[in-house]
Symmetry: C2
Subunit: 250 residues, 2 copies
């Protein structure tokens, strides 16, 4: 059976997240229904990252098999056509070999978190960034963030519902930078725990507003206790930007 790899963009504002849920439309459901309408196949697709409700994606990846052998462009255009007007779109589709699995073959995941740091509420960025009114010291945030880079037990930054076998993950990048009023955090790792990025951003917020020092963040990590780290940052500032695969380094 031919296997396809698709790259997906979505506006998470009105989605319940990647996975199917009873309480509203998910990315997975939109795509699977698009496939059903296109070729009559009722299948389940595999996603690289199970993003939460409200989280956006610029480059989510998924894979699935079809029984018939369609051109990748046909698959992409037909699913996109049938998904209208859902806030989900396939940007790219290609045939991959049968060893490929969007979730298990992924070697790197890249997230962007956007904070708008100003007193005035948001208009254009409402639903697309976290509005932070208190002044953020992005240099202190970047400095502290380096404590988290590397191989650690991230239990302090892990949702209770997380299903990963181990809390030990290797964070390869956690950079904080500022562009005028916007503070951006870029996080990369082979894989993340459930809510890890939002918990790390929520803790860096405490550093940025002067409530925490780099040492406080170090102690939160060492505690291996979700209660010791900061609260989750809101989902709508988070974007899954890219997923790496051995043949497709980014």
């Amino acid at each position: 059976m031919p296997r396809y790899r698709i790259t997906i963009e979505y506006d998470g504002r009105h989605l319940v997240g990647w996975q199917r849920q009873v309480n509203g439309p998910s990315v997975q459901q939109h795509i699977e229904e698009g496939i059903l309408k296109f070729c009559g196949e009722d299948i389940r697709i595999q996603g690289a990252g199970r993003t939460d409700a409200g989280v956006h994606a610029l480059g989510q990846v998924a894979s699935f098999d079809l029984t018939r052998d369609f051109e990748p462009r046909t698959v992409m255009n037909a699913i996109n056509q049938h998904m209208k007007p859902a806030p989900v779109v396939i940007l790219d589709c290609e045939r991959v070999d049968e060893e490929f699995n969007a979730r298990f073959s992924a070697t790197g995941r890249h997230y962007l978190y956007r904070m708008i740091n100003r007193p005035a509420r948001l208009t254009l960025d409402k639903g697309f960034a976290w509005h932070v009114k208190k002044d953020l010291d992005h240099e202190a945030m970047h400095d502290a963030a380096q404590v988290l880079v590397g191989k650690h037990d991230f239990s302090s930054f892990r949702a209770a519902a997380c299903q990963a076998n181990s809390p030990i993950k290797t964070l390869t990048r956690l950079d904080v930078s500022r562009y005028d009023d916007e503070v951006q955090i870029r996080a990369s790792a082979p894989s993340f725990l459930h809510n890890q990025v939002r918990a790390m951003v929520g803790s860096l917020y405490l550093v940025g507003t002067g409530q925490w020092t780099r040492q406080d963040l170090e102690q939160a990590l060492a505690a291996r206790d979700r209660q010791k780290a900061g609260p989750n940052a809101p989902p709508y500032g988070l974007y899954l930007t890219d997923v790496d695969y051995p043949a497709y380094p980014n």
Copy 2:
């Protein structure tokens, strides 16, 4: 009477534009109603640029007088509070002298036009950029755009409803650049005719898709006839980014 200068951001998607209209909420109306609720003064404010329905602003400027002398911060916070949840917010407020007029004192206006150039429809950028499916040659667009820079009769790029005394304007910048799928056009001038930026972008679209050459654009300008230039680009890709004043160069 104290005079105030405010800098305004808005999401134009659900606004009828800058000016008051009978068919829906305008930026002017939201701000004037905010002033009325704040201090009971029923006044008219003067805006630097009368943006159309759907057009966004990152840095629109307006001025107005109040009879009472409030701190600028109080004026800003109170109007913002009373405008909730309108997609309009004041980013900055200061006292200016009585010679200042947001419209007539302005020495430069800066616009950004965003095009997303890809086959797949938009999700995150829907309502915030023009979706162009055909490949755009941004270098050809930039090269042709230079024909319009300088002092010209812009009758070919002027709405029938334009109230300017003269069609002669001096365009100081018209740059086209690409960032991945996004083609950005930046236009600057002391002042613009009604719909001038959208008409210029609509004509550059013809160049970018290969339907027009630089010479065609030159002829369209020389014709001084709105029928000879391209159609207006959609409003929702356009952003008023900055307005210059003698004391506040940008």
